[in-house]
Symmetry: C2
Subunit: 139 residues, 2 copies
């Protein structure tokens, strides 16, 4: 093994060829590249439903390590916790939904400037307005 | 004291009149209501710079308790940690910036559907595209 191979071992904790890797994860990087290009050119977001693909836990680890960590982590607590983490590729978000018992129910890679779930929806903001009106009435 | 007063004590851990309260916090609720109405009517976001106002720690606690906790918490780690927490009034976000030593450097109430800082900017997404291209070239 040449010295050049060492950085690859650092990035991928499970090197290709290790038990559990199916080879299904690397093609997703090409899919993500196409989705990122579409986002930049047209503004249209997209997503890959990881739960619907034949990926092993080792494949998931490989993918997560390849994309690397980002700067933004979002936690959404509504009937179970969801985490929306920007990856080391800005615009690519790793999204994990859990049920109220904490079990993972689905995982997505979303390619978007900001995940839809992080936005407050106008009907919720209208409820926020009512809450403020109630607080003011109680002063 | 009538029984009707009890819920107010539950919401405000420091009841009005307690030491440290200046009375500067309650008017901010009216300001927030106006900003939320503007957001709903025009889509224009706005913010209140809490660090620039004469608010004591007790005032800040009162305000935070009055608004209550929301469902979304964002952590942004870039030259110090920033937290962006939706309050119990959707569309009103409590934003705290810290320096690399963890000391609070500024606090804002931002009235917006989603804080600007949570969005990936196009130039960052373009860097993400390059990262993906590099990952694919290394496969």
């Amino acid at each position: 093994m040449s010295l050049d191979a060492i950085p690859i071992q650092v990035v991928h904790t499970t090197p290709p060829g290790e038990p559990g890797l199916t080879g299904n994860a690397p093609p997703l990087l090409r899919e993500l590249l196409e989705q990122v290009e579409r986002l930049l050119e047209t503004g249209v977001p997209s997503a890959i439903d990881l739960s619907a693909l034949p990926l092993t836990p080792a494949d998931m680890d490989w993918l997560r390590n390849a994309l690397g960590p980002g700067e933004i982590d979002v936690t959404l607590d509504a009937n179970g916790e969801s985490t929306l983490s920007e990856t080391g590729c800005p615009g690519v978000w790793w999204i994990t939904h859990r049920n109220e018992q904490g079990a993972v129910t689905s995982q997505f890679l979303e390619v978007t400037f900001v995940p839809e779930l992080v936005k407050a929806h106008p009907q919720d903001v209208a409820m926020g307005r009512e809450t403020l009106e109630r607080l003011l009435a109680d002063l």
